[in-house]
């Protein structure tokens, strides 16, 4: 299954209402849609062109990330790029009717290939790594290299924050926050390990962050307050 079909609906406070008129399609985008909706040879050729476009985007993403993935060989990266292009193609063909022309068709298509490639690369990078899920509360910040300077404000903020992580968050929120925000586990890797989606995990992270911010504000502390005291 492609990544794009497994991302849950956003639950965070998206307060935006969008009522723009449907944009007029540019000629190139219109031609992409027409040929992809055609039949026979014309359709097959359009699908082939689209796959080539997606493969180019996926290879671009692999090349961008290659320095961070020294253990992957060129063949591995090309396999990942091809899988990403294949999965992106399936997603795009299934969602063709949802393209409204808010961008050019090629820009819209690229994002599917980049997403598929990025997720595959993140998962490959963590393939044999253990995902730390159970935080040791008392050493949370020390293990993540977070230490206050001499300032009383920083020490108080960190103490309060550490207490809030332990006491205010639910066990699931704590586990997700610590993995994503402290231990640097990529959200797609954690989603795979917990059998959930990026969207669902981000909602949990968002709710945890909101709880922590509220708690700090109740205590008269916040990141912004700390910055103002510099």
């Amino acid at each position: 299954m492609s990544v794009a079909t497994t991302v849950g609906r956003p639950q965070v406070d998206s307060t935006t209402s969008r009522s723009e008129a449907t944009p007029v399609l540019d000629p190139e985008s219109r031609e992409w849609l027409r040929s992809l909706r055609s039949h026979g040879r014309e359709h097959d050729e359009a699908v082939e062109r689209l796959h080539s476009l997606l493969l180019r985007a996926a290879r671009y993403e692999c090349a961008r990330r290659r320095p961070a993935l020294p253990h992957l060989r060129g063949n591995d990266l090309d396999d990942i790029a091809n899988q990403a292009a294949d999965d992106a193609l399936v997603s795009i063909l299934a969602r063709l009717d949802s393209f409204r022309g808010a961008s050019r068709f090629t820009t819209w298509a690229y994002k599917f290939a980049l997403l598929e490639a990025a997720v595959k690369l993140r998962r490959r990078a963590w393939q044999s790594r253990e995902v730390p899920l159970e935080p040791e509360t008392w050493s949370l910040f020390a293990s993540a290299g977070i230490k206050p300077d001499q300032s009383a404000e920083q020490s108080e903020l960190l103490d309060t924050l550490q207490g809030a992580i332990a006491d205010v968050l639910s066990p699931h929120q704590r586990r997700v926050l610590v993995a994503l925000a402290l231990n640097g586990v990529p959200i797609d890797v954690l989603a795979e390990r917990l059998n959930t989606t990026r969207g669902a995990l981000y909602k949990t992270l968002h709710d945890a962050r909101r709880k922590l911010r509220s708690h700090l504000e109740e205590q008269g502390l916040s990141l912004e307050t700390l910055e103002e005291t510099k």
Binding site: V7, S14, Y110, D149, L212, R213
Partner: protein, 78 residues
């Protein structure tokens, strides 16, 4: 007093963006339009509120935004 950059970044990762933000799905939905607005020099943040904040709070979506912007921007520059 000078705040250590790593501490500030770590607190930013823990507490996330302060303002309203869209979720990952909405970000993906709007990303192509957002990038084209940015590359056209338009006010993408005004057109799609909450997306910039999400990019600050979500490293994965931020990386994909950077890639799409670089890819499309590079093509436009040719």
């Amino acid at each position: 007093m000078t705040e250590r950059p790593d501490l500030k970044q770590a607190l930013g990762r823990l507490l996330g963006p302060a303002g309203p933000e869209v979720g990952c799905d909405e970000c993906f939905e709007q990303l192509d339009r957002y990038v084209e607005l940015e590359l056209a020099g338009a006010d993408a943040d005004a057109a799609i509120p909450g997306l910039r904040a999400h990019l600050v709070g979500c490293p994965a979506c931020r990386e994909e935004h950077e890639s799409l912007r670089a890819l499309v921007g590079g093509e436009q520059a040719l």
